[in-house]
């Protein structure tokens, strides 16, 4: 078998070699970042250096960076605050936002996949209760960028707080927390080539952020538990590399567009979601009627290409994607959608490998009529 084409970066990115080295080095060095002695202080220095790199990635103040165990935890910490009585989330949020509170109010999205700002305005006007709005910067399945500054303005005008899940966006497009105006932002290390099991919550005013994991006083008392020093160090290195590589990442749009035009050449009826909208440069979500998601994912896997049907967060099962359902995509198309997501290792060879395998699958199923 030749080498595989890994095109599932939105699920997780391959760990960058410099990250692996830095994590290994941090593990060799050891030390508890909260310890008083020299070993502890050295670990603390490494954590704080990483904090600066993560802050720089999203244009934030390092003092507002709380390291967490995942992007999911960061979303949960921001959204499960007792100070908030009402939570409004878009219908296409990641499950860590959708499931954070059982009483969340759902804000619909347009058929194009953009959050409906008129609906958001109406929902905000419905109640005076302390409210938080949570809308993602880039959708994990379609890559479509949401109108965050506009949504933030609406929320703030109504006196609501605004949290943004930027897990898929940070490190893929320029993100400026201050310019976005959000009150908090969730990030994850492994989506940009850092280690799995590390995330960050960026807070505009950390003093108002309630703690979520209780225990010791780590992370300014906002996240208990011994810091995952090697993981945090790895995240810092990944953030540094991702920030330096933003232009190259943006150039992935060319490969992605090439992939999409080849798909359309093979199957002109294929529907590409968000093709004419601002979206992540690495993400392509498309559906081909008659070619189910599950058959595409399995068939491509058997031929050496890794893609996904949608979010990888449903225990390895193949299911109807709710994101497309929220966009009003009918089942006959929604059940035939796949996500291809490129990243820092992707070459034209990978695209070629994908297209070769996809054409085989397509011709087997659809050319025989």
């Amino acid at each position: 078998m030749t080498s595989r084409s890994y095109l599932d970066f939105n699920a997780t990115a391959p760990t960058r070699p410099e990250v692996i080295d830095a994590v290994a080095e941090a593990m060799r060095e050891g030390g508890n970042a909260s310890s008083v002695h020299a070993d502890g202080r050295a670990a603390r220095t490494r954590v704080e250096k990483a904090r600066q790199h993560v802050a720089a990635l999203v244009g934030a103040d390092p003092t507002g960076v709380i390291f967490t165990g995942s992007g999911t935890e960061a979303n949960n910490q921001a959204l499960r605050s007792d100070n908030i009585e009402r939570l409004i989330v878009s219908a296409i949020e990641h499950e860590s936002v959708l499931q954070a509170r059982s009483d969340a109010v759902i804000c619909p999205v347009s058929p194009e996949g953009l959050v409906d700002l008129d609906a958001l305005m109406r929902l905000l006007a419905e109640s005076d209760a302390p409210t938080m709005v949570s809308i993602m910067l880039a959708n994990n399945e379609t890559g479509i960028l949401q109108p965050i500054p506009e949504a933030v303005r609406l929320a703030h005008d109504a006196g609501a707080l605004f949290h943004c899940d930027a897990v898929q966006a940070a490190g893929k497009i320029p993100v400026d927390t201050r310019a976005l105006g959000v009150d908090s932002l969730a990030l994850s290390a492994h989506k940009i080539g850092g280690p799995q099991g590390v995330g960050a919550l960026i807070c505009k005013t950390p003093s108002t952020m309630p703690r979520f994991v209780h225990g010791g006083g780590q992370e300014s008392g906002l996240r208990a538990g011994t810091e995952n020093v090697p993981g945090i160090v790895g995240y810092g290195v990944a953030a540094e590399s991702a920030l330096a590589g933003l232009n190259e990442f943006g150039a992935l749009a060319e490969l992605r567009d090439d992939l999409e035009s080849k798909v359309l050449a093979i199957e002109p009826t294929a529907r590409i979601f968000g093709k004419d909208l601002d979206r992540l440069p690495n993400t392509s979500k498309f559906a081909t009627k008659g070619l189910t998601s599950e058959v595409q994912v399995m068939g491509l896997d058997l031929d050496g290409a890794s893609i996904s049907a949608g979010s990888a967060c449903s225990a390895g099962r193949v299911e109807t994607p709710y994101v497309l359902a929220a966009m009003g995509v009918p089942d006959e198309l929604g059940l035939c959608a796949v996500r291809v997501s490129l990243g820092w290792t992707t070459t034209s060879q990978d695209v070629h490998g994908f297209i070769t395998a996809w054409q085989k699958l397509h011709d087997r199923k659809l050319s025989q009529g």
Partner: protein, 375 residues
């Protein structure tokens, strides 16, 4: 053994194996992988166990899926899980419940083979470019000059031909049953030799989605209005007692009638869903010699419509085949005359035709007009 797909080398032959997480399908996958085939394991997630009637202890679908995954890892093949919960509910569980509401005794395993397995999963296997779909069923597929035949399993005690009678010729062309020549003991020994993590797993019992045989609970959950009480009457229509819903009764049943002790030799003879009556009578009244079938699947080759065919038939899964003559009609129905009366022929069950070892097909047993209606 190495003739699963005759025209291709094993390593160029892709075979999808339906893996349930049980011993049989696990050994099937391991055998084919050992023979060098390009084996792809697929497990169907058919029902949500947490949501089904709460089943304590032992087996659950989640565990079976995990077991299939562990087996695939052990033998080194790719493995996928397909979520067929909604189609299984629609094509199997709902149909199962409706049959009980109609006073029938359904066989959901046949429906499952007909729909999610040999229609949907087979379609996926074909889309994946597989040359065949293999299962762990105990039944034999025999290639002859006149085409492919279905034969009973070599291990009579495990023979699953009764549940596979509805397999069409086209499906049979594509299917493979590598365990058909083996006994269950041999399969278990193979599981140990392959060091499969499920080698010591007990055989599954009864209907997979019905916990502890409590089928009525499942039916009532889906069709809550099916618990309407009614009369238990004798063959002359005299009321002997009350019942709490016809779904609790099966033709031939004797226990649980809750009639007076003097009447404990009574059996359920018929169920009348319109009148909500359970008709009971002595064992002799269960005797049936004529069985009418519909939706017949014929695997016996060319026969002229209306011809009388002498064969053996099974009217229940656990009964031995008995001599009968069969008349196939153009509309897919058939009439079976049994050489000797069978007791407890229940509508909704299958009548499966045999010529010795060979399975000639079968059909679904229809409800007879009541004898009072007929008289």
């Amino acid at each position: 053994m190495n003739t699963l797909v005759t025209h291709k080398a094993p390593e160029e032959t892709r075979i999808v194996v339906a893996m349930s997480g049980g011993v049989d399908s696990s050994v099937t996958a391991a055998l084919l992988a050992e023979q060098g085939y390009d084996v792809v394991g697929v497990t169907l997630q058919l029902y949500d166990h947490g949501a089904a009637v709460s089943k304590k202890g032992a087996c659950c679908a989640g565990q079976d899926i995990a077991d299939a995954g562990r087996v695939a890892e052990t033998i080194g093949i790719p493995h996928y899980v397909l979520n067929y919960e909604s189609r299984f509910r629609e094509d199997v569980i709902d149909v199962f419940a409706d049959a009980y509401v109609r006073g029938e005794t359904p066989i959901p395993c046949v429906l499952c083979n007909q729909t999610v397995k040999f229609r949907d999963l087979m379609g996926v296997a074909q889309d994946l470019g597989a040359d065949a779909l293999a299962t762990g069923h105990y039944i034999r597929r025999v290639e002859t000059e006149d085409g492919v035949e279905l034969h009973r399993a070599a291990d009579e005690t495990k023979d699953q031909s009764y549940f596979l009678f509805a397999t069409t010729g086209e499906q049979l062309d594509y299917l493979r049953f590598p365990l058909g020549e083996l006994t269950k003991d041999e399969t278990r020994k193979l599981a140990s030799r392959f060091d499969l993590p499920v080698a010591a797993k007990p055989d599954s019992q009864d209907i997979c989605f019905v916990p502890q045989g409590r089928y009525a609970d499942v039916v009532l959950k889906i069709r809550p209005d099916a618990a309407e009480a009614g009369d238990i009457v004798d063959l002359d229509g005299a009321v002997l007692g009350q019942h709490d819903g016809i779904i609790h009764y099966t033709i031939g049943q004797r226990r649980g009638l809750h009639l007076d002790a003097a009447e404990d030799a009574l059996y359920v003879i018929r169920i009348d869903p319109e009148a909500k009556q359970v008709i009971v009578g002595p064992r002799e009244a269960l005797a049936t010699t004529t069985v009418r079938l519909n939706n017949v699947n014929w695997l016996g080759g060319d026969v002229s419509g209306g011809a009388i065919i002498d064969c053996e038939v099974k009217v229940r899964s656990m009964r031995p085949p008995v001599a009968a003559s069969l008349r196939l009609l153009e509309d897919g129905s058939a009439t079976v005359e049994l050489a000797a009366a069978e007791h407890g022929v229940a509508p909704g069950q299958a009548c499966v035709f045999y010529d010795g070892e060979r399975v000639l097909g079968g059909g679904w047993i229809q409800r007879e007009k009541t004898s009072t209606e007929a008289a």
